[in-house]
Amino acid sequence: MPSSSSTSRSSLTGWLYVSPLVGVLVPFFLAPILVVLAASFFGSDGFGGLTPGFTLANYVEVLHSALTLKLYLATIKFTVLTWIFTLLIGFFVAYFLVFHVRNQLLAIGLFLLCTVPFWTSNIIRMISWIPLLGKEGLINAALISTGVIRQPLEVLLFSDLAVVIAYVHQLTIFMIVPIFNAMARIDKRLIEAAIDAGASRFDILRLIVVPMAKSGIALGSIFVVSIVMGDFFVVKVMSGGGSASVVSAFYEDVGVLQYPTAAASAVLLTLVLVAIVSLILRSVDIRREITR
């Protein structure tokens, strides 16, 4: 029948359209997740070997451990602090670039300038904080020489403060880019219309810019939150081993060949992140905002 053959052809075209995405997602996303999920239900012989089967013991162990809660609290603390600072800095940098730099070429130039630190590796950028924040670093030296303090501040490096500083440094760009993008799409005449109606600069920010940049804020928040929650390296280096995050625990587990418990922790973290991201998406209809 002609109608059924045309239907099957159009469904074939549909599959062809999605095949590149499927080709990427299946091997690089779906398969690893399934492997981890399967591993989280397996038993372990304690020497890195997995015994196939179905057991909830790994989850029971992870959930019963007092350490898990402590690590989640620590990670959430870093996440919230990093989110607040990257949001504040990212929002105002984007705001400045979009609404205060009149020359568009200059705005794009300054925007690209924001990406310059990313031309070098993450690790170098992190390590470069050490001479600045260290006990004999620039900040301490300056404070001592101006007589503000007599003893060097220990809290600057290898502390939670240092961790947050490093995160903010690394991740602010992930806020700037989507917020800049959302703000750049705000019609400048809307701002003029608001001024015409008598709105102050703060009114414009509160009633026009923030609501209309919501999709960018949500996207940036998703980037920052998921990166911080999934990271252990920055915490490890910048806290000098003094703090840990959720992912550090799996790292330790993997180190002692406890793959199933590491897998169970990973599944748990994934669920927590999915919950957070869906919460963010619930407050902003990103799909609608982006197609607007």
Partner: protein, 368 residues
């Protein structure tokens, strides 16, 4: 300071963006309180810049803008008591119709109950009650335009500035909204300043039509005066409805002069008292297209007609109540006769026919 009247005076207003070229070049104009004023000109003639300067979104480089007796240069829009309706409306896309209209009251610190009541009254005035909770994207062009009008009018401005308010609408809606604008202006009793590039819109609406070219005012006056008595070739051609002919003055008689065009027969044009026209001057004259009558060669001219220019019909367009007949009367310029439908079809011409274009002698006017 509270500006109570909406009369506007522009005195030597100039605006330059680059310090070299004046986008607005020494504009002087007086607009009466409660007038409907239309600025008209091609794009880039400075009309929108003038509007934006009156609104306070742009500062003049030189000159004064006086509203209700106060120089308002440097004041924000709120203190001028002006409100602007932006081109393509600039409605806040994330706010409902009601919130859009109440916005100005919100930023003035009115309580929620109070401002929503005022907004609802305004919504009723522009007949949008059933759409009050919709977002702008869910409205048609005409409805969006009414929201924009209501949003601008809610602060009870003395002057409402409209930047090409009808350009985003289709033809039929444009005519309808044109009437609505005029109705609102009468109802509110305030000064409207309307920028447009459509001459029909300007003459249909305005008490005062201001024709602009390259930052300068070419002619300002009541619609009929600008349309029927254009001052120069530019205004005549821009406003339309006129045939412009140029030639050399061959002879000046008491009340008229003769204009000679190449080898053609001289055209007799009545002399306006104030103008000094001498033999040998090159001048333009205008004859309204609906004053031109067409007769077949050999037929007698209608009474009062002196000049008869032989021409060939190059095109004919049926326009409903009249027929637009295009002629090759003048070598380089358009020459058109608007012949009433009934007259035309009593003895229709065809393309290629030779006719005599004539008019009652005193209908021709010399231009500056």
């Amino acid at each position: 300071m509270r500006i109570e009247r909406g009369d506007i005076e522009l005195a030597g207003v100039c605006k330059s963006y680059d310090g070299v070229v004046n986008a607005v070049d020494g504009v002087n104009l007086r607009i009466a309180d409660g007038a409907y004023c239309c600025f008209i000109g091609p794009s880039g003639c400075g009309k929108t810049t003038i509007l934006r300067m009156i609104a306070g979104h742009e500062d003049p480089t030189a000159g004064e803008i006086v509203i209700g007796g106060h120089n308002v240069v440097g004041l924000p829009p709120v203190q001028r008591r002006t409100a602007m309706m932006f081109q393509s409306y600039a409605l806040f896309p994330h706010l409902t119709v009601r919130e859009n209209i109440a916005f100005a009251l919100q930023v003035r610190g009115q309580s929620k109950a109070e401002r929503l009541r005022a907004a609802d009254a305004m919504i009723e005035k522009v007949r949008l009650t059933q759409f009050a909770d919709r977002l702008p994207a869910q409205l048609s062009g005409g409805q969006q335009q009414r929201v924009a009008l209501a949003r601008a009018a809610i602060t009870e401005p003395r002057v409402l500035l409209l930047d090409e308010p009808l350009s985003a609408l289709d033809e039929q809606l444009r005519v309808q909204m044109r009437q609505e604008l005029r109705r609102m202006q009468r109802e509110l009793g305030i000064t409207f300043i309307h920028v447009t590039h459509t001459q029909l819109e300007a003459i249909a609406l305005a008490d005062l039509v201001v024709v602009m070219e390259q930052g300068r005012i070419k002619q300002a006056g009541p619609a009929r005066e600008v349309y029927a008595h254009p001052r120069d070739r530019y205004v005549a051609e821009f406003m339309g409805g006129q045939n412009v002919l140029s030639g050399r003055v061959a002879k000046v008689n008491g009340g008229s002069f003769l204009l000679k065009q190449g080898a053609r027969e001289a055209i007799e044009v009545p002399l306006q008292a104030r103008r000094g026209i001498g033999v040998g001057d090159t001048i333009d004259i205008a004859v309204r297209r609906d004053d031109v009558a067409l007769v077949r060669p050999g037929a007698s001219l209608p009474p009062g007609c002196g000049t008869a220019l032989p021409s060939r019909v190059t095109a004919i367009e049926y326009q409903g109540y009249f027929v637009k007949v295009m002629l090759d009367t003048v070598p380089d310029d358009e020459f058109v006769a608007y012949v009433p439908e009934k007259t035309f079809f009593a003895d229709p011409f065809n393309v290629g026919d030779v006719v005599l274009a004539t008019w009652v002698a005193d209908r021709a006017r010399p231009l500056a």
